[in-house]
């Protein structure tokens, strides 16, 4: 998990920006427990019942090539302390992700100074 590994490795950058990183997928809680152990500074959400995925409208219409299951389209939301969305990003390709530096820059640009 390169993406999560990179976010975990740079967690201090997000801590400095008073931003917690929540990572969500269609994993069940059994798999998510292992993911949480591997990435202790991230908050792992096991959205196997799609409550969060459907609320934010990120369900991918395609099926997982690995197991045929449903999956979320890679998307990032920045949310301020009041629960208001400050930024939405989706890469143009499934093989692209924001780097930790990109995410930190987006936080600075879109959430800095929000009360």
């Amino acid at each position: 998990m390169i993406e999560l590994g990179q976010l975990e490795a740079h967690h201090d950058e997000f801590d400095r920006r008073q931003t917690r990183v929540i990572v969500a997928s269609t994993e069940n809680t059994g798999d998510a427990k292992q993911t949480q152990t591997d990435f202790p500074h991230l908050i792992i959400v096991a959205d196997s019942e799609h409550g969060l995925i459907n609320a934010l409208g990120v369900m991918d219409s395609r099926r997982s090539p690995a197991n045929g299951g449903s999956m979320a389209a890679p998307t990032t939301f920045l949310v301020d302390k009041n629960g208001v969305v400050g930024w939405v990003f989706r890469p143009s390709r499934v093989i692209e992700r924001l780097s930790p530096g990109d995410l930190a820059a987006a936080i600075d640009q879109n959430l800095a100074g929000r009360r």
Partner: protein
């Protein structure tokens, strides 16, 4: 003793193009492996299909110089490789633009989900003293 200059063997002189084509084709996946394993950069590797296409052109050039069954076979393999890579990078990997209900300035809607430990996770957990970055991930990527 003959004084005539030696005529170049077309097969030998075109061999350089053949091997260069194969090398450049292989270089693409090697660079991508380095990008993922070493640099850990998850960006679109446009150089993958590009290198395969350059490799294909070089092998084609070597065939124009000297036709052999081996070269035609390599042309077919590298051609399929290039087509597959263009298809994957340009078409198959494309994501639709976000068309969900969220936009800048909108409050999060009510939702219910679970943390890894099985406890509830709702929109109320996102209010407080910290901002949040919600990242949807999938698979082992």
């Amino acid at each position: 003793m003959s004084t005539e200059p030696a005529t170049p063997n077309p097969r030998r002189s075109s061999r350089l193009f053949l091997w260069l084509g194969v090398l450049i084709t292989i270089l693409g996946p090697a660079l991508y492996a380095a990008q993922i394993i070493q640099a850990r950069r998850l960006t679109t590797p446009w150089y993958l299909p590009t290198s395969a296409t350059i490799g294909l052109a070089l092998v084609l050039w070597s065939i124009i110089k000297a036709r052999t069954i081996t070269r035609f076979a390599l042309l077919a393999v590298i051609g399929l490789f290039a087509v597959a890579q263009w298809f994957f990078v340009a078409a198959l990997s494309r994501l639709p633009e976000y068309a969900g209900p969220m936009a800048m300035g909108r409050p999060l809607p009510h939702f219910t989900s679970k943390r890894a430990d099985g406890s509830a996770f709702t929109e109320r957990d996102l209010a407080g003293t910290q901002n949040s970055a919600i990242v949807f991930f999938r698979g082992r990527w």
